[in-house]
Symmetry: C2
Subunit: 162 residues, 2 copies
């Protein structure tokens, strides 16, 4: 697996959060608090952690779509492949939408490529990406890392004490 | 929503990918290719896009757990809240596991905080995070952005022509 990251979260602010709207609704002329068993997650304002994660998966899907289209072109359209590679050298994929918008405006041939990328990212998100597997892997990862962190700490402390 | 990003993908390499193992298995003494309807995604080697996304969601969950614990401490343990805030100023949350490992070793009081964060990130991932909602939001986002990108392009071109 490569070294790049989906989650540089250091820029997140720990300033006082806006009120969270998940657990409260306005009903008639007074506020009623609905009891919610979920933990209160501050700092996402009107959005939600799910919306934030979706936004970034959206960029990830654009990146995947570019890789898929690029691999397809390599087999059957070397010229278009070279054009896409050249465009990739000049444009960042950090913002998937901006990348597609720029690609669309580069030339009529690039526009065709951009439309193909839009189509592929939609198909990938809806049909190919294994959402259940994502949940399973993420849960397993949390368990494995929690166990490892605690085990390493205990080993370190017991080593120091002996 | 805040400005930070989950997906800086510019570092991804477009070098020739390793062979993808999803569609091929070795059976007896010869290779048999299993037909798979999924699109070929190059460049993830032995891992998968799901594993890559899970890895980064894992860091996202650590960030969320830190926010949750921090908000809880603000209400009932001002001293621990101040200690966590001070630690946050000195340590990056980019690598969730490293953050927890460092927090654990800072002092016995910090260790208690770290264990609480590990517990919360596990509970959040398994019980609170709305996985179905993530899928729904991501699919909707792809559709909305694809439509908007094409509409903007058509409007721009028709404006130029008129």
């Amino acid at each position: 697996m490569e070294s790049s990251t989906l989650v540089p979260v250091s820029q997140f602010s720990f300033l006082p959060p806006k009120p969270h709207n998940r657990t409260r609704i306005k009903r008639r002329n007074f506020f009623t608090t609905i009891q919610c068993n979920k933990m209160y997650v501050p700092g996402f304002g009107e959005a939600s952690p799910e919306a934030k994660a979706a936004k970034h998966l959206h960029n990830f899907f654009t990146y995947i779509a570019v890789r898929i289209v690029n691999a397809q072109l390599e087999s059957y359209n070397r010229e278009a492949h070279a054009e896409l590679m050249e465009f990739l050298e000049r444009h960042s994929l950090n913002d998937g939408n901006k990348f597609c918008a720029d690609l669309m405006r580069e030339s009529p041939r690039h526009k065709t490529l951009a439309l193909r990328i839009l189509e592929v990212r939609s198909a990938y998100c809806k049909n190919d990406f294994e959402w259940d597997n994502l949940k399973r892997l993420a849960s397993k990862m949390v368990d494995d890392h929690n166990t490892r962190l605690m085990r390493d700490y205990v080993l370190e402390v017991s080593h120091e004490e002996s």
